[in-house]
């Protein structure tokens, strides 16, 4: 998995193009981890309270 995207300019030099879009699933995955984590936390807290 790359973090950045690179390209070569007309002189053959490597240039930074931007963030790697391989990270898009990572961004979504982090969001899902937080959401699922909170769901589990809520369920556990609910069970302890009942």
């Amino acid at each position: 998995m790359e973090i950045f995207r690179y390209a070569r300019d007309v002189y053959g030099q490597e240039t930074l193009e931007g963030m790697s879009w391989d990270l898009l699933p990572v961004a979504i995955g982090i969001g899902l981890v937080v959401i699922v984590g909170h769901v589990i936390y809520s369920l556990v807290r609910g069970k302890r309270g009942s």
Binding site: L16, G18, M19, A27, G31, I35, H38
Partner: protein
């Protein structure tokens, strides 16, 4: 819903919130759908919506400084176990959104130099290739962070225990009883 209603968000602030939400979602869609293979002429929609977001951000900056209480969104919680108008989690979300939205708007404004508009011709030589790379990295990183933050924000906005906040952002009010459970806040701005 029983109990005395108190105003939490004025109409102009609710309109600002939902216009900003629509802008951010449009920008994410136009910026990221081509990445996953859905091809369309996304650039004009993207930069025009970006200008809308810039106007909204400037509006919010001016309004929050001159018409609202900045300390509502900064600093630690109120005394004891209750918060002021916003909980620490809400303040943290606002801070995170501030950083990423300002980053994506600022870099987006710079990137406008590479777009032909009715007001100017594109100038890709405004910055060096190396500098453009850093601009794109910041813009892309902020966009990815926005994806994560939007997911988290929408989730916490929809869960049942936060229903009063969602209603307040649509209708503008909460009841004194329900807000008093977690907040020491009398309904001032």
């Amino acid at each position: 819903m029983h109990g005395e209603r108190i105003e939490r968000h004025k109409g102009v602030d609710r309109l600002f919130h939902w216009l900003t939400a629509a802008s951010v979602l449009t920008l994410l869609a136009t910026g990221l759908l081509p990445v996953v293979g859905i091809r369309f002429d996304w650039v004009p929609i993207h930069w025009i919506t970006g200008v809308v977001l810039l106007v909204l951000v400037l509006f919010h900056l001016v309004r929050s400084v001159f018409w609202q209480k900045l300390r509502c969104m900064w600093g630690i919680a109120a005394s004891g176990r209750k918060y002021g108008k916003y909980s620490p989690a809400q303040k943290l979300m606002h801070l995170a959104m501030t950083i990423v939205i300002l980053t994506v708007v600022a870099t987006g404004v710079v990137m406008m130099a590479k777009v032909d508009t009715p007001f100017w011709e594109r100038n890709p030589y405004l910055l060096s290739a190396e500098t453009w790379g850093y601009v794109y990295v910041l813009h892309g990183a902020a966009a990815l962070a926005t994806v994560t933050l939007v997911m988290i924000h929408v989730y916490f906005g929809l869960i049942p225990e936060n229903r009063m906040y969602l209603r307040a952002m649509i209708k503008g009010w909460v009841t004194r009883e329900e807000i008093a459970v977690r907040h020491e806040w009398s309904g001032s701005k």
